[in-house]
Amino acid sequence: MIGALEKLLYVLTAKGSLTWANWKNVCEIVSQSSNFNGLSPSTALSVLDELAHVEVAKQNGNLKIFSSPACLVMLPQPGVRTAVLTGGRAPETLSVLEKNAKEVSCRIKVSEHSKGRPETPKVVYIEADEIADIRELSNRTDVNFNADPISWIISYCSGCIRDLEHSVKWIKGPEPSTEAMEFDFNKGYRGRVGLTNYEARLIQYFPRVSQPYWVLRHNNRYAQMDRSWGLYLGAHINDIDGIIWDRFHSQIGIPLSWGVPRPLGKALCMCSGKAPVILDSEYINAPKTYATKYSIYSKIPRNISELILYKLGQTGITIQIPKTA
């Protein structure tokens, strides 16, 4: 049976792009046809984005979701060379790859879905003894290919909260009287403004006339910024460590309510090619302070883990998480 997100991916690939309204509509239809209740459009988008199947951008202030080009992405694992198929696909994709893989000594392995996430699309791995074989497969099938692991590229080239702090436009001024909610780092959700006493405060404003927006306030100045980046910058200023790092199993856990900035979420996912597993904080003995649930990303090499934690201004709480991958 085809999973809900697989169908969603088919639709997006066929159409090229979808507005947010269309996306939500298609989400509902595919979840009904897949007997999968509770497919949140936001979660669906986040999963497909982190798995490098889609790209998201704003056009004229409205969110639009685009199908990404089909691409074989190398995983940053030593040994047998492994790539994962990302981007757009059709039902025939797997058979096209399998047919051509035999001719170039590649092996196709399919994981029906990411562990514990039956709604996620099939994960298609391409294994080969040499990287040249995978390159040859990409040439034969007209699929893009990048020999450098994308997780390394993105984690190296992505933004950093330290740079963000200096590059963002800070404005001095008091707090406006606009309706707002403040993010409580310790509880992991929004609440009334003014209940916390953090040095840096992440606040979402709801103006009457325009779209809601996020602001980080620090030392009587404030800057409008993306929620995720603002959250980690605020956590860094407040010296709050929320991310857990299992060095032993090469896993990283992100508080579910925190999320992770888009490029880095993709860098984490593209270490294994699979969507993160969601686990209760009790199950993994994680501090319940920040979140009741964590997204666990697996097979994160040490150098990439260190780089991502640095970019997010986190040191990583050392905890051994039960192996998920």
């Binding site: 169908k7 088919y10 690939t13 066929a14 947010w20 309204a21 269309n22 298609v26 239809i29 595919v30 046809s33 897949s34 490098a52 199947h53 889609v54 790209e55 998201v56 951008a57 409205n62 639009k64 685009f66 199908s67 990404s68 080009p69 089909a70 992405v73 940053p76 694992q77 030593p78 040994g79 990302t86 981007g87 757009g88 059709a90 039902p91 025939e92 003894d129 040499e130 990287i131 007209d142 893009n144 450098d148 692991p149 390394w152 590229i153 993105i154 190296y156 933004g159 009457r208 006339v209 325009s210 993306d226 980046w229 900035p261 490029p263 097979k299 090499p301 040490r302 150098n303 192996k323």
Partner: protein
């Protein structure tokens, strides 16, 4: 599209084809409206019509029969491999040209026009003309399925009841200019995009705005309203344009004040004791994000209203943004126009005033409780009617005499003052209705609409896992609907039918048959074979996830451009959780990971895991072909040479066989070296 001869049939076929179907028309409706002026413009000479007619009548070189026989023969030869553009296109253009051929004939006469155009002294139906339906349907298939709407969407629709002649007539009933101008007419007439309203109500709304926008003969036909077949066809064509209208004032207009949305009344709660609530909801269209609308009325511009989208085509109720309190619709005068305007985009959201309002159950069509406004009394099922003044008396008269169950509900509050609410169910008659009751359905040809589903693009093509339901609009309650020749039934009294998945093919035929008319439509289902590879990235995002240009560092899914990074160094320990030791290609290169956690400065080739019953050699090198053992300079590692050998040789019987053949060969090389050391 293929090259052609400079003259002759092929020349005209290609010339016309390129004019009607092009990349510029992607996902847009294409109507084959051929005129003498168009032919002259394309051929760049006056009176090209004579040449066109002569060449098409003669046919391509390989044909010898009558006009329609030639057309069918050309289609048959092409349809076996379907390469290139349909070569029968010029024939269809000729038939379309004939539909609008000027002369002294009744409006409904088609064949005399065709024979006159051909300059042939004959009468009646041309031989094999009925086979031309296949060609019209095939052109629809070509545009929808073969080319996936890339060059335009053609629909083989009928105008009127005549099955063969109705096809070319449908192409010419309105000109391209008229179809474009209808958008402006609908906009100015405050009509709701996609609304199902009666023909008379539609005409009443647009008549003040049609002068100068439609051709004089079109205006005259509408004004005379002689109820002839042709006028009926014209009204149906205009209604069809309203149904597919997206609310834009003109094609491609983006910006201030260029779009309109429909506003509807919603009665979320009504009981027999007269307790009623009334709200406003918006009928959504795809291109507008309604949650971004900031609405206000001209009467009270300081009050801002907004709404959230819901899972159906109707939004959640309008609320006052500041207080989040739902807007009470009973505070408005329902007999007058209610209009909101978005302060950001100037989009207008309105409903026309009306002294009579109809409501149907909101569960099926809007996934809401209560009742939602519609424009026509349904043929089946429960409905409510709200009316005021003399209209309430007329409605009551009709309902009492023509409806099986009819009851007035005394309302305490929830409607504007003076309005009465009636509830009805069971059977009802429409034939004896008063002409003032525009809420009653009129006798038109049945029609099929699609509800829900996931469309492939804008045409009648759906994904197999997202099939629509079929909604039949029919004046007569006695009809049969079939899907691929199997009769469809439904368990409730509605006109909504589910498509049985087991009957679905790539091309499907839907038919609705009443006692005096029949319509058929094609529905296409897509399973596979859409483009998914060798595609350019549509958008790139930067290092913070924001949209960026391709010239700088950019990410698009798994593709990354314009980056400069140091080479990636693999972490050999990431392949194993419990590495016992790391081994290199040179004998003696071995590190015990239980004692030293540091990665050595030589390139590891194997990570060795000692398990209870087996020893696993996990490959962690960069390239298998470059990882063969190196029998050079191993004196440097003399102190650990013995350990290197014993790790391989002493465990050889417990080594887990690698799955890859190349790795098995590589490991054998290492064992051979260990043996001879």
């Amino acid at each position: 599209m293929t090259e052609t001869d400079s003259n002759g049939y092929d020349y005209w076929n290609t010339l016309l084809f390129r004019d009607f179907f092009s990349k510029a028309n992607e996902s847009k409706r294409v109507y084959l409206y051929v005129t003498p002026e168009r032919l002259s413009r394309l051929a760049e000479r006056e009176n090209a019509i004579d040449d066109f007619v002569r060449e098409v009548y003669r046919g391509p070189g390989c044909t010898q029969g009558s006009l329609c026989e030639n057309a069918y023969s050309v289609y048959r030869k092409w349809s076996s491999n379907r390469n290139g553009t349909p070569p029968y296109f010029a024939f269809l253009c000729l038939f379309s040209l004939a539909a609008d051929h000027e002369g002294d004939w009744p409006a409904h006469a088609y064949y005399p026009r065709l024979w006159d155009l051909l300059k042939v002294d004959k009468e009646g139906t041309p031989k094999s003309f009925e086979r031309m339906r296949i060609l019209w349907s095939d052109l629809e298939k070509w545009s929808t399925v073969d080319t996936e709407e890339k060059y335009g969407i053609f629909r083989a629709q009928l105008a009127g009841k005549r099955v063969n002649v109705g096809l070319p007539i449908a192409q010419t009933i309105l000109t391209e200019v008229e179809r474009r101008n209808l958008k402006v007419i609908f906009y100015n007439a405050d009509l709701e995009p996609g609304s199902e309203i009666s023909g008379s109500r539609l005409l009443e709304a647009i008549m003040p705005f049609i002068g100068g926008s439609l051709r004089p003969r079109t205006v005259n036909r509408l004004k005379n309203r002689d109820r002839s077949d042709y006028t009926q066809e014209l009204v149906e064509a205009i209604h069809h344009e309203l149904i597919i209208w997206d609310g834009e004032k003109s094609e491609g207009s983006i910006g201030v004040g260029s779009q309109r949305l429909g506003l509807r009344l919603w009665l979320p709660a009504l009981d027999d004791f007269g307790h009623l609530a009334s709200r406003y909801v918006i009928k959504c269209i795809e291109s507008i994000e309604i949650e971004n609308l900031q609405l206000s009325t001209s009467i009270n511009p300081s009050n801002a209203y907004s709404c959230e989208p819901s899972s159906s085509v109707y939004s959640m109720e309008l609320i006052k943004t500041e207080t989040r309190i739902p807007l009470d619709a009973s505070k408005f005068d329902w007999s007058k126009k209610t209009e909101f305007k978005c302060s950001r985009t100037q989009t207008l959201v309105s409903c026309k005033g009306s002294p009579i309002r109809v409501f149907v159950g909101a569960l099926d069509i809007a996934q809401k409780s209560g009742y939602i406004e519609t424009y026509i009394v349904p043929r089946k099922g429960e409905f409510l009617v709200a009316a005021i003044g003399i209209h309430s008396i007329l409605v009551d008269e009709w309902g009492s005499t023509c409806c099986e169950f009819w009851k007035e509900i005394p309302i305490q509050h929830g409607v504007p003052s003076g309005w009465r609410i009636f509830r009805s169910s069971g059977k009802r008659r429409f034939e004896e209705h008063s002409s003032k009751l525009f809420i009653l359905p009129e006798k038109t040809r049945p029609r099929v609409a699609y509800r829900g589903g996931v469309r492939f693009n804008k045409g009648a093509r759906f994904f197999r896992f997202g099939l629509p339901n079929l909604l039949v609009h029919s004046f007569s309650s006695e009809y049969l609907v079939s899907f691929n020749d199997s009769i469809l039934t439904n368990s409730d009294e509605s006109d909504l039918y589910e498509i049985p998945i087991e009957l679905v093919r790539a091309e499907n035929k839907i038919r609705v048959v009443t006692t005096d008319s029949e319509v058929s439509e094609a529905l296409y289902v897509v399973d596979d074979n859409w483009g998914w590879r060798d595609r350019n990235a549509l958008v790139f995002t930067d290092k913070y996830g924001e949209a960026t240009s391709k010239e700088s560092f950019g990410i698009s899914g798994g593709c990354v451009v314009n980056y400069d990074i140091p080479p990636y160094e693999m972490d050999p320990l990431s392949v194993s959780e419990k590495p016992s030791c790391l081994m290199g290609a040179i004998p003696g290169q071995i590190i015990d990971m239980n004692r030293c956690k540091q990665i050595p400065d030589w390139q590891p080739v194997w990570v060795v895991e000692r398990r209870r019953r087996e020893v696993v050699f996990i490959y962690c090198g960069n390239s298998i072909s470059d990882s063969s053992p190196i029998l050079k300079n191993y004196e440097e590692y003399a102190t650990s040479l013995k350990k290197w050998k014993s790790t391989l040789w002493n465990t050889r019987k417990r080594i887990k066989r690698p799955r890859s053949r190349k790795l098995r060969v590589l490991l054998k090389e290492y064992l051979n070296v260990a043996k001879i050391l």
